[in-house]
């Protein structure tokens, strides 16, 4: 590893030095050159001291999220990685306003989140598209709820379906589409409500590798074109480094911010880029510790702790 360290520090802007911190900016809030600016610029999304505890079936309380502090800049592509069970998806649900945290505050544009809002749209792993509506009607749905006039809705459905290359499928039903196409419809549906923040919950986890590569390219393209803020949750570190401006690593239960990795590689990137692989390595080394802890917990109990949703609807 130390033999590789020299070329790494040149190619990958995160300084990797032999010190235990390895140049990774640790701590709850990312520090560094941005700090002074951030003091007076309101972050797009700000999480302060977010805690969430669940009730397990045995009745004991289980801390899922422990004092999460995060700030997401406007237009930033933030990726959150962590082992399964670190509460990364839950964190997205909190930002979306679908659940509420036990304590702490979530601010969007400096205003506290109170329930769901169309300024934050979620894209789910199993897409959550409505099977009783056509592709076009799915994309239209959020605008219809908002009361956007029909003519405008039609135009936007067309625009966003073209953006994800599905214009021809407007009249199809969801079950007629492939997995990758469904995820693209989900992206179009989310974009059509014109949210400031896209919350993506392992959207590509169930797709085959080729489709995923393609969707990475498309997502990066859409992000640059629309300038949205994206918070992207994944367990795939390479994916996180390939897409994100910054990668946040959460610890295994309770979820805490373990470290943050700014990714300053040139775009467009590709999953195969050696720089991406190297940067991913740095994140992976830290992640491995957490993954081991999560596996240990599984082996010890023989099964994942069963969680009854204390905070869900």
């Amino acid at each position: 590893m130390s033999a590789n360290a020299q070329p790494v520090s040149r190619r990958f802007p995160v300084p990797i030095d032999p010190s235990p911190t390895r140049g990774v900016k640790r701590g709850p809030v990312s520090v560094g050159r941005g700090e002074q600016e951030r003091a007076h610029v309101v972050p797009k999304v700000g999480l302060s001291d977010i805690c969430l505890s669940y009730r397990t079936q045995g009745g004991e309380r289980l801390l899922a999220l422990d004092h999460i502090n995060l700030e997401v800049r406007t237009g930033e592509f933030l990726c959150i990685v962590g082992p399964s069970g670190c509460g990364k998806s839950t964190l997205l649900h909190l930002i979306a306003g679908l659940h509420s945290q036990s304590s702490g505050q979530i601010l969007v544009d400096g205003k506290p989140v109170q329930g769901p809002g169309t300024d934050r749209i979620m894209i789910f792993q199993d897409h959550g598209l409505f099977p009783w509506l056509t592709v076009g009607e799915n994309v239209e749905f959020g605008m219809k709820m908002k009361g956007v006039p029909k003519a405008e809705r039609r135009a936007k459905v067309e625009h966003y379906l073209r953006l994800v290359h599905l214009a021809k499928f407007e009249k199809s039903y969801i079950h007629q589409l492939s997995g990758g196409m469904r995820q693209r419809v989900a992206i179009a549906r989310a974009l059509a409500t014109e949210p400031d923040v896209l919350l993506m919950d392992e959207p590509f986890a169930a797709l085959d590798a080729q489709t995923r590569d393609l969707l990475h390219d498309e997502l990066e393209h859409i992000w640059r074109e629309t300038g949205r803020t994206i918070i992207f949750v994944t367990h795939n570190v390479r994916e996180a480094v390939r897409l994100g401006d910054r990668v946040v690593l959460l610890t295994f239960r309770p979820g805490r911010v373990k470290s943050e990795f700014p990714v300053e590689l040139e775009r467009p990137r590709s999953l195969e880029d050696p720089e991406v692989a190297l940067a991913a390595r740095a994140v992976l080394d830290e992640l491995r510790e957490e993954t081991n802890r999560s596996l240990e917990a599984e082996y010890r109990t023989g099964l994942k702790p069963k969680i009854t949703s204390g905070a869900s609807e």
Binding site: I121, M122, W132, L133, G142, M145, Y173, H175
Partner: protein
């Protein structure tokens, strides 16, 4: 093709047996009418408009009663499914009430509404309300949670959430309950009509009894079966097929 053949064989055998028994005069004709006697009754009934009027009146009643059941049942079922307290208390009551034949409400209905159409409607509603409620409760529970989350996330709430998301999302899970509710409504209606002179099919059937005209009784019975079959085959089968086309898979039927 094969299926059609089986139908033809089965029904001609049934018809043949009936004709044979009637021909042999095992029982006297006023107890066991012949097929052509029934056919004559049917023809006469339609000819003098008795059956047309009866069908119209009965259909009107069942549509009103069933409509009320569906609306109330959906509200009740949704309430029971989304409220823990209601589920634990009312859930059990609803299931136990289902063992009560709806015609048991008839005496109360007469007292509350008087001897008129409303009493009949009440019995119809009580007959089908429980099926619809239980189906809706079940459907709401079986429905994948993600639809509700996605809907709320996209800005749907309150009535809009129910109408545009929860209701269509649970339809495949409640369509069999809706069908059962319709069958109960139809049966309750005929029963209630038999107890009260009211122009409907039930009354026409009783009229046949009063006149000792068993051909007419069987003719009306055939009509009742036919209408039930057509509604099931056209309305509900069509609805199921429509849902299957949209959802792709055969939903829980």
């Amino acid at each position: 093709m094969k299926r059609a053949l089986r139908y033809i064989i089965f029904y001609s055998a049934l018809f043949g047996l009936w004709t044979l028994l009637a021909k042999l005069r095992v029982w006297p004709p006023y107890l066991f009418p012949s097929p052509w006697g029934v056919a004559e009754s049917l023809y006469a009934g339609f000819q003098d408009h008795t059956y047309w009027i009866a069908i119209r009146v009965s259909m009107q009643r069942v549509l009103i009663g069933y409509g009320i059941s569906v609306i109330l049942g959906m509200i009740l079922g949704l309430g029971v499914a989304s409220n823990k307290f209601l589920e634990e208390t009312m859930g059990g009551l609803l299931v136990s009430l289902q063992s009560l034949p709806s015609i048991c409400w008839w005496p109360l209905a007469l007292l509350w509404f008087g001897l008129n159409q409303n009493a009949i409607l009440f019995v119809v509603v009580m007959g089908s309300l429980l099926s619809v409620t239980l189906a809706m409760e079940d459907g709401r529970k079986q429905m994948p949670k993600i639809f509700g989350q996605a809907g709320r996330n996209l800005g749907a709430k309150g009535f809009k959430l129910f109408w545009y998301v929860l209701l269509p999302a649970s339809l495949p899970f409640i369509v069999s309950g809706l069908k059962q509710g319709w069958a109960f409504a139809w049966r309750s209606l005929i029963t209630a009509e038999m107890l009260y002179l009211s122009l409907g099919l039930g009354q026409v059937l009783m009229m046949g009894r009063d006149l000792n005209d068993m051909s007419a009784v069987i003719a009306v019975m055939l009509l009742i079966i036919a209408i039930g079959y057509v509604v099931d085959g056209v309305v509900f089968k069509g609805m199921e097929r429509h849902l299957q086309n949209k959802w792709g898979l055969a939903p829980a039927a």
